[in-house]
């Protein structure tokens, strides 16, 4: 057993662009589900729209990186509106069905060979972060070339720039969610989660509030996709339905109706993933587990599923939530 390598890889998972992307998407779900009670099972679709919106506008339309990212954000706003218009008047369960289908439609649109010129089909898109003409995201990197950090948490200048940018965006979103939820607007949103008819009877335009919540959470999800894309590439294999459920796991781990919970949840999720993946393959290597190392590291997804079930049954409010505020049994 190589404990040193297990520990190293586990600590490295604390701070990666992927963790930040997950935290952003989980924050979007906290807005949707934790505060507004909207069952969105299509967060991967929002991330895909954000990431592809950014990549396509840079590669196909030659926009500078910041404009491309704005396109990604606008794309996720439009996606939220298109999803919400027909479904927000229906009962919550229908939104869940529609969002899961819409996310799949979005992914298949990016996968189909019909638009290969623009979307890159199954290969996805890459090479949009560094541009010949100097308008790429990495072209604006303020950090000089070199390595930064110490021990397991060392990054090259490119990763450091993505991390800095990601943390800034995450901080902004955290502030926005906090500011919204402490205000009377947040009170209405929480009221809608409890009983939208009661809120309607008090003269609030419930549909408009739900749409606003769907858009804000959707933008957080889109930004998650953008941070993800800014670090590597975009491909339809990433934005699959299981991504949605990993983000749900992060959210429920931290606490759905909390501000910091989703962020902590995303960190715990990735640290656990890194630990299990390394630990299980080490177990297989040393012959304790009678499976191959590849099989062993896949075993972690089984454990994630098991963990999600236990979480929902025994600690529905997550680590940071108030047990009284969010439970699955009403």
């Amino acid at each position: 057993m190589d404990w040193g390598s297990i520990l190293n890889n586990t600590i490295a998972a604390f701070l990666t662009p992927t963790t930040i992307a997950f935290a952003l998407a989980a924050l979007g779900l906290a807005m949707h589900f934790g505060f507004a009670g909207l069952l969105n099972f299509g967060i991967a679709g929002f991330m895909a729209i954000g990431g592809y919106g950014y990549a396509i506008s840079v590669l196909t339309f030659g926009l500078p990186w910041w404009a491309g990212m704005m396109v990604g954000v606008v794309g996720s706003i439009l996606f939220a509106i298109v999803l919400g218009l027909p479904t927000l008047r229906l009962r919550g369960d229908y939104l869940a069905i529609v969002t899961i289908a819409a996310a799949e439609i979005a992914r298949l649109m990016f996968l189909t060979t019909a638009f290969t010129d623009v979307t890159g089909s199954a290969d996805g898109l890459f090479g949009f972060n560094t541009r010949q003409d100097g308008t790429g995201f990495q072209n604006s990197n303020p950090f000089p070339s070199g390595d930064y950090g110490f021990g397991p948490l060392s990054f090259n200048h490119q990763t450091l720039w993505v991390l800095t940018f990601g943390i800034a965006i995450l901080g902004l979103c955290l502030w926005l969610l906090w500011a919204l939820m402490r205000s009377p607007w947040g009170r209405v949103i929480k009221g809608i989660r409890e009983d939208e008819d009661a809120v309607r009877a008090l003269g609030k335009n419930v549909f408009a509030y739900k749409m606003q919540a769907l858009i804000i959470g959707g933008v957080f999800g889109g930004l998650g996709g953008i941070v993800f894309a800014a670090f590597s590439n975009v491909s339809p294999g990433v934005f699959v339905t299981s991504l949605t459920f990993f983000i749900w796991t992060s959210l429920l781990l931290g606490g759905a109706a909390t501000i910091l919970g989703p962020v902590i949840g995303a960190i715990i999720f990735w640290v656990l993933q890194a630990f299990l993946s390394n630990f299980l393959s080490q177990l297989a290597l040393s012959g304790i587990l009678p499976v191959s190392t590849t099989q062993a590291s896949t075993l972690r997804f089984v454990l994630v599923g098991l963990g999600l079930m236990l979480l929902v049954i025994y600690r529905p409010q997550g680590i940071f939530g108030d047990k009284r505020e969010l439970t699955f049994v009403k």
Partner: protein, 296 residues
């Protein structure tokens, strides 16, 4: 008790004979030809009905008479197949529920809708109308709404004190008893400064100790200048506090009038109380033979 309450009653609510659809001297709600069917069942079919202003009107009738459906139609929670109705001269047909509430016509629900996982105080503050902090952009700038929010809190605390819920202000509404939730729902409705308060079975499931205070609250609404329309099965409540009674059966208004007289009408006795209203339940079902009281 009842003499004292009767003295508050305003006489002369109606014009002409009290018959179904009779005109009122000062109507607040005017309903015309409102019809709603669910499949083959006609739930509501009201030709003409006027609800008097600044009075307490009771809407009674047997189960399935269409009382709650009429409530839902009037408040925009459901839309009728045909018909028009107006509230203080404003036509309400096709107006969504939240706009109806903004006009000052607020309702409560038969199954109490306390917002369980909000605190009692948050429940109350949610009721206030015209809050600047409820706009998505202005909510981000506390300076815009903090002062108003403090004023709303003072108003909410005054109302909570009136309803004896002030000590519970920081508890989640889920922890209140059924009767306290009814009180909270009524208090929350009052936060909207309504003109017309529509209560759907305010007494259902309330323990007798709270009944008196609930009755007093309803009477106080009228004293404060509001109009009350309530659905109730409790005949004592109807007799004690209603100024006017509307009786529905099978979707239609079968009788209306002051409580003293309307209860005696044959149509009401047939439709609502049934022909056995003075007989013991055991006799009706034929399970028990009751020995008649002496002298009868």
């Amino acid at each position: 008790m009842s003499n004292n309450e009767k003295s508050h009653r305003t006489g002369g609510l109606h014009i002409g004979e009290p018959a179904p659809g009779c005109a009122k001297t000062d109507p607040m709600l005017i309903i015309d030809h409102v019809k709603k069917s669910f499949g083959g069942l006609t739930a509501v079919d009201v030709e003409h009905l006027e609800i008097p202003k600044n009075a307490i009107t009771a809407l009674i009738g047997p189960n399935g008479a269409g009382k709650t459906t009429l409530f839902n139609l009037l408040t925009g929670f459901d839309s009728p197949d045909t018909g028009t109705w107006s509230f203080e001269g404003t036509s309400l047909a096709g107006i969504p529920a939240f706009k109806v509430a903004q006009l000052g016509q607020v309702r409560t629900f038969q199954l109490t809708k306390a917002l369980s996982l909000l605190t009692v105080l948050e429940n109350m503050k949610l009721g206030a109308t015209g809050q600047r902090g409820e706009g998505i952009l202005s909510s981000l700038i506390p300076a815009l709404w903090r002062k108003q929010d403090a004023e709303i809190e003072i108003k909410a605390m005054e109302l909570l004190a009136r309803f004896k819920l002030d000590t519970k202000k920081d508890d989640f509404a889920a922890s209140l008893s059924g009767g306290q939730r009814k009180l909270l729902e009524m208090a929350r409705a009052l936060m909207t400064d309504p003109v017309l308060v529509m209560l759907d079975e305010p007494m259902a499931g309330v323990n007798p100790a709270l009944t008196q205070s609930l009755l007093d609250h309803v009477i106080n609404l009228k004293k404060d200048g509001m109009t009350v329309l309530f659905v109730e099965h409790d005949m004592h409540m109807v007799r004690h506090i209603a100024d006017w009674v509307v009786v529905m059966a099978e979707g239609k208004v079968v009788a209306e009038g002051p409580p003293e007289t309307v209860m005696k009408e044959q149509a009401v006795i047939d439709a609502y109380l049934g022909s056995h209203q003075d007989t013991d339940l055991g006799v009706v079902t034929g399970r028990i033979n009751i020995i008649p009281e002496e002298g009868k």
